[in-house]
């Protein structure tokens, strides 16, 4: 077992749906992760996830020298030392997890981003869904809500679809109506959900093309846990995605890496 070394740095990603936290040790080794639902109280979510992160690692707050916040709620992390956008953080986190990464697809609750990255994790270019939530995790949540199905079961049910319906709307709210219309016409829930996954995958592909898609592609964000979405994207891309257990945490990981950069820069300054 590797023994972790202080000083530690932490990254907290306050997303619209979930709040994630990552702890790194002095050598950028993963010291712990935590994840909770964000809810309506952003400050409380940030404090809670941080407390859970420290508890899981068996550390006190004084062991962490630098905390960076990212995600839409990053400015509400009162104990944070630095705020970085989720675009920079997902790029950095993805390249850290998979060094061959040159394109990142981050699919979260309210945003989907395509990011072209350099070998050092720096952002070359990015595109995001604009304003509306079509093509994001929210789209899937809406489908699950309409079909009265737990979000966790969505991928497994969709994967059994054989004749996917076409969800053509560009609006999440209208998509709910379109899904209901397919239900009324007797289509199976499996086929409707597969159609919803395909609609999102297709929109994501368009975003990826807008940044000049280059392999290897890493899929990050909460929706990267969805196996059906991974399969649909891979089908459209004609190649495999880099995805893994830590990819939902890529934003928080990137934030922790930026925190670590600051920490090291500070130490270098102190050392003259």
């Amino acid at each position: 077992m590797i023994s972790l070394q202080a000083p530690f740095s932490a990254g907290i990603d306050v997303g619209s749906t979930q709040t994630k936290a990552v702890l790194l040790d002095a050598s950028a080794r993963l010291a712990g992760t935590a994840l909770i639902d964000t809810g309506f109280d952003i400050d409380a979510a940030a404090r809670t996830v941080y407390a859970r992160l420290l508890a899981a690692a068996g550390l006190g707050a004084d062991a962490v020298s630098y905390v960076a916040g990212t995600g839409y709620g990053r400015f509400r992390i009162a104990f944070g030392d630095l705020q970085v956008t989720e675009i920079s953080c997902h790029a950095r986190g993805a390249v850290h997890l998979f060094p061959a990464t040159r394109t990142v697809l981050d699919m979260g609750g309210q945003d989907t981003k395509a990011i072209r990255v350099a070998a050092d994790g720096g952002v070359i270019d990015f595109c995001m869904n604009d304003k509306c939530a079509a093509g994001t995790g929210r789209f899937l949540s809406a489908a699950a809500a309409v079909l009265e199905m737990p979000l966790d079961e969505l991928a497994a049910v969709a994967a059994t679809g054989r004749h996917p319906v076409t969800i053509s709307t560009t609006c999440t709210v209208f998509a709910e109506s379109e899904i209901l219309a397919w239900v009324a016409r007797g289509k199976s829930i499996n086929d409707i959900l597969l159609g919803a996954h395909q609609a999102i995958a297709s929109r994501s592909l368009a975003l990826l093309k807008r940044v000049g898609l280059q392999p290897a592609i890493t899929f990050t964000g909460g929706v990267s846990r969805n196996s059906c979405m991974v399969a649909q994207l891979e089908r459209l891309l004609g190649s495999q995605l880099q995805v893994g257990e830590q990819t939902p945490f890529a934003g928080a990981l990137g934030a922790a890496l930026f925190a670590r950069d600051r920490l090291l820069a500070g130490r270098q300054e102190l050392q003259g």
């Binding site: 839409y72 970085v84 956008t85 989720e86 675009i87 920079s88 720096g122 952002v123 070359i124 270019d125 990015f126 595109c127 995001m128 604009d130 304003k131 807008r210 940044v211 000049g212 930026f258 950069d261 600051r262 820069a265």
Partner: protein
């Protein structure tokens, strides 16, 4: 920031206010004006006939900046105009449907409308006026570039054929103006107006060149907007010449100050591509300036300046022919700027040593936004310069999300800072 450029901004506001007051006075006296679009406005020709000029696009953008556009858009939509068409057009229609009245001014009715084929919407828009008022509509069919890599120039056989085609149309417009006013064209007046435009253009080009290589003397979106407004409204006039003479002098002073006292930290030199976000005009520019970004150049100063950026100077000794030639070159330039922007952006980025390129697509203008997507991909394929793509609108607040816009801008500056410093943001 190092460049207040205050005098030119105040003078521009004052001149545009005078223009509004003159239009209001015409409306009170129930006198008409010619309605024309910025590209190919024929300002010099109209001034030779003493026909007052109204530029609806500029009026519309003013309503966006002063916050009155939303009501006009709503009014037009209530009459059945759809939500996804050009919002300049829709605000203008809203204004006409409510009796050409705005909170602070009235506008004259049209006696003539001039459009060009630079934009299909212009033609449909002008047809709305024709339907409402029954006045003559004149549409210039301007030939575009057939070879984007090498557009024809004066002296080329292809250009001669294009010029003959445009010349015939200019003659027709002159005949129409003669019928409307009941007087013959005075070529001396036209020559004088063209001479004024030449002088304005000379100053404007020097101003643009000043920003290109040296310190940033003016923000091409903020101050550039003021310069554009005056250039289009006061084109071919003594007042326009005075304005640009003063503006150039002010910039020369600013440049001198910048050279003597350079800023402690060099700004990020940005190239802007697209139309400004008028409903959030000041805050949009501030989102960049507060992070140390300054727009050193803007494609808007090319395609919306009526060709003022070109080296072309009217030959006042043969005013009608030269006017036709200028109309062909400048309108074609505007079309090329929108449709063939890929190569141009690469050249512009290198010429002005831009650290990043900001693309602002406006949802209600397909003409600008379509070309923008292609230009961005062309630039990306040939350059590693960071780019930022923003999508909002030039008129409709409902299509703009300031918080999301700010987030994207923050990410863009993180990239710029990382590149400059080679470490964390």
């Amino acid at each position: 920031m190092t460049f207040p450029a205050v005098r030119a901004k105040i003078e521009a506001s004052s001149l545009l206010e005078d223009w509004s007051e003159r239009l209001d006075l015409l409306a009170q006296q129930q006198l008409p004006a010619a309605y024309a679009f910025v590209m190919g406005s024929c300002a010099e020709l109209l001034s030779a006939f003493e026909i007052p000029l109204f530029l609806p696009e500029i009026n519309c953008l003013q309503t966006a900046v002063n916050g009155t556009a939303q009501g006009l858009l709503q009014h037009a939509e209530e009459q059945g105009y759809p939500s996804d068409i050009c919002n300049y057009l829709k605000a203008d229609v809203g204004m006409h449907l409510q009796g050409r009245r705005l909170p602070d001014k009235r506008l004259p009715a049209p006696c003539l409308a001039i459009a060009t084929t630079a934009c299909n919407t212009y033609i449909k828009w002008a047809e709305v006026w024709q339907r409402l008022y029954g006045m003559p509509l004149f549409v210039f069919d301007i030939p575009g570039s057939r070879n984007p890599a090498r557009p024809s120039r004066p002296g080329d056989p292809g250009f001669a054929a294009d010029l003959a085609y445009v010349m015939e149309q200019v003659r027709s417009l002159i005949s129409l103006c003669e019928r409307i006013t009941g007087r013959r064209l005075e070529t001396d007046r036209l020559s004088h107006a063209l001479h004024c435009t030449n002088q304005m253009g000379d100053a404007f080009r020097q101003m643009l060149a000043m920003n290109q290589q040296g310190p940033v003397c003016f923000d091409a979106v903020r101050q550039g907007g003021a310069y554009l407004g005056v250039f289009n409204v006061y084109r071919g006039s003594e007042a326009g010449v005075r304005y640009f003479r003063n503006a150039l002098e002010e910039l020369q002073q600013i440049r001198q100050r910048c050279l003597e006292e350079p800023p402690s930290e060099a700004p990020f030199r940005l190239l802007f591509a697209g139309l400004p976000c008028y409903p959030l005009y000041s805050s949009f520019i501030r989102m960049f300036s507060t992070q140390g970004g300054l727009f050193v150049r803007s494609t808007y100063l090319q395609f919306a300046s009526g060709g003022a950026n070109l080296e072309y100077r009217f030959d006042t000794g043969r005013p009608v022919e030269s006017f036709a030639e200028g109309l062909l070159l400048t309108t074609r330039e505007a079309m090329d700027s929108m449709f063939l922007a890929g190569d141009r952006l690469l050249e512009a980025q290198a010429a002005c040593r831009a650290d990043g390129v900001v693309f602002h697509g406006v949802k209600s203008c397909r003409t600008v936004s379509t070309g923008l997507a292609d230009a961005r991909l062309a630039l990306l394929s040939r350059s590693s310069v960071p780019t930022l793509l923003l999508e909002s609108d030039m008129m409709d607040r409902r299509l703009i999300s300031p918080a999301q816009m700010q987030n994207r801008i923050d990410a863009f500056f993180e990239t710029l800072r990382l590149r400059r410093k080679g470490n964390a943001p």
